[in-house]
Amino acid sequence: MKIFIDPPNSLILFDLVERFGHEPLSVMATIQERVDNLEIDMPPMNVTLDDVKKGLDYAGIEVPSGIRGRLAVWGPLIDNAEAAIIMEDAPYSFGCVGCHRTNLLVDFLVRKRKLPTIEIDYPRTEEDARNMVIRVKEFLEGLE
């Protein structure tokens, strides 16, 4: 099954989803399509002009352009997903390398689609990690 992972570039989630036999939908694959098709040969841009319009499918015009740009890339992944894993409080999804408003909108879009979803916390202790991995394993093995 196609599993949307949030954060969509997470190494931990990507590896776990693959390890337990499913297909992770990640932002890296989407970026690869753009890189290989030479659509974003203009550093530091990561989106194309079409993406700017596509972003409006997921967020209103009054929403900051950074959020719309992110959603233009992440939104189609949510549309194609059959299940989702949301990792809360990942340290790199907030601050200069992330965008909390986008995270909130992504959570909203996933819930709106009523996908089978599991919400886990970023592991900070061994006990957290143990619970996280076991819950992810049980969730992925339970999907049909």
Binding site: L11, A29, Q32, Y92, P123, R130
Partner: protein
């Protein structure tokens, strides 16, 4: 040609070294490109071949080797630090690399068939109760 580029990241607890990874890839004789890095290696080639190589590499240390795909190809001037690429981010990978030791412990428990501990999460207040509280305050 369709390509797949993969980051191979070695957990801090693993005894495998990036050098062992690259030597193993070379010894397999597949038509893939591999580059040794501080966190593991970057592997690039046709998707089917990369998948075969990944299976061989995971066998070296099943719980200590992690991977994800990468959007940019090996040595892409838009990304490569050696050529002052404009996207030199490493902070996320560094953070996740540090957490891999925890994930590895978690995987060990999951493979042993342990069950997750359930925490008692208090139920949300029903809307009617919340309304009643608000009216009482007014």
């Amino acid at each position: 040609m369709v390509r797949e580029t993969r980051l191979i990241v070695i957990s801090p607890l693993s005894e495998i070294t990036p050098d062992q990874i690259t030597r193993k890839v070379h010894s397999l004789g597949y038509e893939v490109t591999v580059k040794e890095t501080c966190y593991g290696a970057v592997l690039e080639g046709p998707p089917e071949t990369v998948s075969k190589v990944m299976d061989e590499l995971r066998a070296l240390d099943p719980l200590g080797i992690y991977s994800k795909i990468r959007g940019f190809p090996l040595g892409d001037p838009k990304r490569c630090r050696a050529q002052h690429g404009s996207r030199p981010g490493f902070s996320q990978l560094q953070t996740e690399w540090q957490s891999l030791s925890l994930v590895e412990k978690g995987l060990e428990c999951a493979m042993r068939g342990e069950k997750a501990e359930t925490k008692d999460v208090p139920d949300r207040i029903p809307v009617k109760d919340l309304q009643r509280f608000c009216e009482e305050v007014e």
